[in-house]
């Protein structure tokens, strides 16, 4: 294994996340990838690791009134509020429209643990659903989300209730709006989660000085994009050192180098989010770039990059 072996090296791109075998380590993040079919003109769903579909609720749901989005330095702010078609339309209309080789992870949202459990029970039975990610961290729905992800007891109750409803792969998507991410990670592991996804959007706000109004109708929203990437990297580093279950890194990934950073900090896979908006083919491009990186640096398996951060001589990185 050496850098000089160069282009001849056949790189094994496959990884495993929460017991789900993936052809490569690049997935796309819930809420930024619709139900998958929207991206058919721009990328091959069978060439990315998989995708996490828009968060579902038991019934269809409308979101917030406009304005729902705003631009901020190297990022964007949103308060959509889990607008979705509902679990039934997802399984009956959206999933059958996907190509056979697409790896689909469903995302569940609710306002009570029992709602999550019912929804997870429904989707995880479906043969096309590879796993479920529970959205315990949506930062802008007053009645749900944030409370589960911010309170270790609520989070434990949520994960254990959902765990009882499925034997399939179960990921928990964590909120960054906490003081100690390691504690939240440990709670999920203790209650039987198979993996963690982090981070969700960072709670934030922006103001329009001309109108002296908040940019979003909801006032508060979630910040995403490259602006949050160093925060996400820090949290992935801290969480992955606290647990043995795999971590999926999310937050401002725009290119293969960004993806590599998350793997080095302990992630087993990554999700591309906001970048899908500006470059709908990004995930496929990043998957290619990740394999290239491994090849150039003499790694014959992408999964060997996980946790391969060199920290010798540095004390400032310690978590």
């Amino acid at each position: 294994m050496s850098a000089e072996s160069g282009s001849a090296l056949e790189v094994d791109e496959s990884v495993e996340l929460a017991g789900i075998p993936l052809r490569n380590a690049v997935l796309t993040a819930s809420g930024t990838f619709g139900y998958g079919t929207e991206f058919a003109p721009f990328l091959d769903l069978e060439k990315i690791g998989g995708f996490v579909a828009k968060s579902l609720t038991l019934e269809p749901r409308f979101g917030n009134p406009p304005p729902r989005i705003g631009e901020t330095p190297s990022g964007m702010l949103n308060a959509i509020s889990i607008e979705n078609v509902g679990v039934r339309a997802f399984l009956e209309e959206k999933v059958p429209a996907l190509p056979e080789g697409a790896v689909v992870i469903a995302s569940a949202f609710g306002t009570a643990p029992e709602q999550y459990a019912e929804l997870v029970g429904q989707v995880s039975e479906h043969p096309r659903i590879a796993g479920v990610e529970i959205n315990a961290s949506c930062p802008h729905v007053k009645a749900g989300g944030i409370e589960f992800g911010q309170d270790p007891r609520l989070l434990a109750e949520l994960v254990s209730t959902v765990r009882a409803a499925t034997r399939g792969p179960l990921l928990v998507k964590l909120s960054p709006n906490v003081t100690g991410i390691a504690e939240m990670a440990k709670v999920c592991e203790a209650e039987g989660a198979d993996g963690l996804s982090l981070i969700n959007a960072v709670q934030a706000m922006e103001v329009d000085v001309e109108s002296r109004r908040p940019v979003l109708s909801n006032v508060l929203g979630g910040l995403s994009g490259p602006a949050i990437r160093p925060i996400a990297l820090r949290m992935v580093w801290q969480a992955s050192r606290a647990v043995k279950i795999p971590v999926c890194g999310i937050g401002g990934i725009t290119d293969a180098d960004d993806a590599v950073k998350f793997l080095l900090c302990g992630a087993s896979a990554v999700q591309v989010g906001t970048t899908n908006y500006l470059d709908p083919g990004a995930a496929e491009r990043i998957a290619h770039g990740l394999a290239d990186y491994a090849r150039r640096h003499g790694f014959d398996r992408v999964r060997d990059l996980t946790g391969a951060l060199e920290t010798g001589g540095s004390s400032s990185l310690g978590g």
Partner: protein, 287 residues
């Protein structure tokens, strides 16, 4: 036609959108606006009323991070294929309103600009005995050129009514003036060209003159479109608008561009629109 009749449906283009690194052919000011001509490889063609998402400035070696999001812009004109084959000449009109459009204004021929499109549903272009009244304000003017051309081609009588603060805000006026079979009426708030006042006044005059079989197409600032819609509704004339809500993706996944519907709930401007029957929109809920 009265308010109870079925809404005028926008038209789905049969070509899939592409993402492309377009080459800047020209980027020049025209009054207070700018005209950007792009050579777009593999351009599938568009229908009037569709738009593209345009990167906020020319591409550089590193991925674009700031400003992050592309800007939706109407396709003003398209001509193609170019001599270099498999490329079309796609022209956009824009105004410098912030940092992203300021970066775009700094791009020069040969630069690469990322675009995604054509996106959205377009105008329904149908023959008809009555006049087609196309009302444009601001960058909304950009949506009217190809529409006027298509309506003339199918035999409609076409009047284009442009509203602006003053003469320099009428970007694209000369092109519309040069279109055969189009009556051009301008209204400026400072009186520098045409009617002295708002564009709703000549629209009302046109509707008073000849409302039978007329269709109003209005594209511009929300208050302008709302006034046009109300005038049309009062005369029992159908009105089609094209909304300009901010959006991050343009193809139905960010859900940022939701417009409230009169019937309740929201429609995504990028997918269900940007072209809508004005009666479907709950104007009071638009920011």
């Amino acid at each position: 036609m009265n308010a109870n009749e079925a809404p005028i449906e926008s038209v789905q283009h049969d070509a899939q959108p592409i993402r492309s690194q377009a080459r800047v052919l020209a980027n020049e000011p025209d009054g207070h606006g700018w005209r950007l001509r792009l050579a777009v490889p593999h351009w599938p063609g568009s229908i009037p009323g569709q738009f593209v998402m345009v990167g906020a400035g020319p591409e550089t070696a590193a991925p674009r991070r700031d400003p992050l999001l592309p800007r939706p812009m109407a396709i003003y004109r398209e001509r193609g294929p170019l001599r270099t084959a498999d490329e079309a000449d796609v022209e956009l009109l824009y105004r410098v309103v912030g940092r992203g459009t300021a970066l775009l204004a700094a791009s020069t021929p040969g630069d690469r600009i990322s675009i995604v499109g054509p996106l959205g549903r377009g105008f329904r272009v149908e023959p008809g005995a009555g006049p087609a009244l196309l009302v444009g304000g601001g960058t909304g003017i950009a949506s009217l050129y190809e529409l006027a051309r298509a309506l003339v081609a199918c035999g409609r009588r076409v009047s284009v009514l442009l509203g602006a603060r003053g003469e320099p805000d009428l970007t694209g006026r000369a092109d519309l003036q040069a279109l055969q079979g189009v009556e051009l009426i301008c209204a400026t708030e400072d009186g520098s060209v045409g009617f002295h006042g708002r564009v709703s006044e000549p629209l009302e005059a046109c509707l008073d003159r000849d409302a039978v079989g007329a269709t109003v197409f209005a594209v511009g600032p929300t208050p302008m479109m709302r006034v046009c819609a109300e005038l049309a509704e009062a005369k029992g004339v159908p009105c089609v608008v094209s909304l300009e809500n901010p959006m991050a993706c343009g193809f139905g996944v960010c859900l940022g561009c939701a417009a409230p519907r009169r019937a309740g709930g929201f429609s995504l401007v990028c997918r269900a629109g940007p072209v809508f029957d004005a009666r479907e929109i709950a104007w009071e809920g638009l920011p």
